[in-house]
């Protein structure tokens, strides 16, 4: 049998095709509250530089509450400083738009081929990106432009879902600049050849699991689970292969404000819940697993099953400071560097 999109699928308010039972997962914010929040954001946009400089905590609080859908794209564009970046770059561009200048260039044939293969494979469950959805051309433009902007990175597969989510919220040119900021300011090095930054963050996550959930750490070590197995798609796609709207957007609201630590905290909470602190039915199953695949599968299932509101509140309570996080990353980097040196010496 060949599975075509089910005919009984319904389109949810975010443009995703879902089975009828799924469409109830919607944000239930009262209209009056939503309107009030919207006005607050519009007000912030007007006085953005001063707001960001003097009232960052207020912005953070508002991001944690969830940005209203109507202003979310603009909020991400501001929060990531993509607006500032675009204005600065365009000022120095003879064509007045660096994005459109990039589009006059043609990237390497291999890059183009890799991008083309993924245009229909990023969000086949979203109206913009299904079949010949209008979003596929814009996705092609954003990814091509980026490959010209940073030829060393070119195109990496995990980038397509990220760009697609941005295009669900912003016109291509603005989406491009937010995309640039993600690549260069938020998760620098995640998509580069060698995937060194991803390896570092995977290992740092494991170091932090040892601290947050010693029991969980012990189990993962016993089954010889490489942290790469559960962190790669979470981190490289900013969780967009695990969650979708509205949960994913809530997560990104916080990510754009607070940065990569949001990804770490969520990853740690999911692992902690699965292996130690969650519902006993899950934890006891975890401790019966006898191989890496089963435990990783369970961790990934748990990520989707636990109520997102529970995960968010546990992220907040996680006993982990920014300093802990920085130290773990440093430790991971040192260990990986030492491993590389050891391998080189062995080869000599």
């Amino acid at each position: 049998m060949v599975n075509r999109p089910e005919s009984d699928e319904v389109l949810d308010r975010y443009g995703f095709f879902v089975s009828p039972g799924e469409s109830h997962i919607e944000e239930t914010v009262d209209a009056a509250v939503a309107r009030r929040r919207e006005l607050k954001w519009l007000d912030m946009f007007v006085q953005w530089p001063s707001f960001i400089a003097s009232r960052f905590d207020k912005i953070k609080e508002r991001c944690r509450k969830g940005i209203p859908g109507s202003v979310r794209g603009q909020a991400w564009y501001h929060l990531s400083a993509a607006k500032y970046r675009q204005e600065t770059e365009d000022r120095n561009c003879p064509m007045e738009s660096l994005f459109y200048y990039y589009l006059t260039k043609t990237p390497d044939a291999r890059v183009l081929d890799d991008i083309r293969k993924d245009l229909a494979r990023s969000f086949p469950d979203h109206e913009m990106f299904r079949d010949d959805g209008c979003g596929q051309n814009s996705l092609n433009d954003v990814l091509r432009a980026y490959a010209i902007h940073d030829p060393d990175v070119g195109y990496c597969q995990a980038q397509a879902p990220i760009a697609a989510i941005l295009l669900m919220h912003l016109p291509p040119e603005q989406a491009f600049w937010v995309f640039v900021q993600i690549n260069e300011e938020y998760v620098k090095g995640y998509f580069s050849d060698g995937l060194t930054a991803i390896k570092e963050d995977a290992l740092a996550t494991e170091i932090l699991i040892k601290r947050v959930s010693p029991k969980g750490y012990h189990l993962l070590r016993k089954l010889d689970v490489d942290p790469i197995l559960y962190t790669v798609d979470w981190y490289m796609t900013l969780f967009s292969r695990t969650y979708r709207a509205p949960q994913l957007y809530r997560l990104w609201d916080m990510f754009f404000c607070e940065g990569v630590k949001v990804l770490f905290r969520l990853a740690l909470v999911i692992v902690y819940e699965t292996l130690e602190d969650g519902p006993s039915s899950i934890v006891s199953r975890a401790h019966k697993c006898d191989n890496a695949m089963d435990i990783v599968t369970l961790i990934k299932q748990t990520a989707k099953q636990l109520p997102f509101s529970v995960l968010l509140s546990k992220m907040d309570k996680l006993p982990l400071t920014d300093i802990d996080l920085a130290q773990a990353c440093k430790q991971a980097r040192q260990k990986l560097n030492a491993d590389v040196k050891a391998t080189q010496n062995r080869k000599k």
């Binding site: 599975n3 490289m236 697993c289 191989n291 695949m293 599968t297």
Partner: protein, 218 residues
């Protein structure tokens, strides 16, 4: 875990090959008899299992489906660990995916167990009119390299079952002829109710990775 987890052998098999050759659909066809024209690109790793019978023994296959884009090879050693089989997939309608087979073999030589059983799989055989890799060429290449070869179509199901059956049976023949090593405490610990026999391939490059665990699904 569940009763379906009773098995005699547990084999880990990896699906590798260039991006877009149909690895994920081979996996879903074999494990769930599904094919999806609109599947998402694989980022990281995805898994599925299926049990088959050989010689009245239950063999549970753990199949690891990996990302095909070249730069993901930087992290593939995490996937190869403990694998006893590899299906190396190319697309019969895209010659470049066949040209890269050589590099994937090197990848396996560098990172996987030296005794890993490899099978070359030419997928998308339904695209007859677009064929760019002649069967004979791939066949003689695989003979030269001492690996088996089969052409499949995940879309119309042709040979998918056979491709997996063949490699799993071949692995079974190899391991069932070998006496089981004594427990060293690093094998898979028995899950509730499971009656499996941990499978070990003989160690090949003892200095690699500092991993002592070479059981089939570490």
């Amino acid at each position: 875990m569940a009763r379906e987890d009773e098995y005699d052998y547990l084999f880990k098999v990896v699906l590798i090959g260039d991006s877009g050759v149909g690895k994920s659909n081979l996996l879903s066809r074999f494990t769930r008899n599904e094919f999806n024209l609109e599947s998402k690109s694989t980022i990281g790793v995805e898994f599925a299992t299926r049990s088959i019978q050989v010689d009245k023994k239950t063999i549970k296959a753990q199949i690891w489906d990996t990302a095909g884009q070249e730069r993901y090879r930087a992290i593939t050693s995490a996937y190869y660990r403990g694998a006893v089989g590899a299906l190396l997939v190319y697309d019969i309608s895209k010659h470049t995916t066949y040209e890269n087979v050589e590099r994937w073999l090197k990848e396996l030589r560098d990172h996987a167990d030296a005794n890993i059983v490899i099978s070359l799989v030419g997928n998308k055989s339904d695209l007859r009119h677009l064929r760019s890799v002649p069967s004979d060429e791939a066949k003689s290449f695989s003979e030269k390299n001492g690996i088996s070869f089969i052409e499949t179509s995940a879309l119309d199901s042709t040979n998918v079952e056979q491709a997996f059956q063949t490699i799993l049976t071949e692995i079974y023949r190899i391991v069932s002829q070998r006496p089981m090593p004594e427990s060293t405490g690093t094998q898979i610990n028995g899950g509730a109710g499971s009656s499996h026999i941990p499978i070990r391939l003989p160690p090949t490059n003892p200095v690699s990775d500092s991993k002592q665990n070479t059981s089939c699904c570490s």
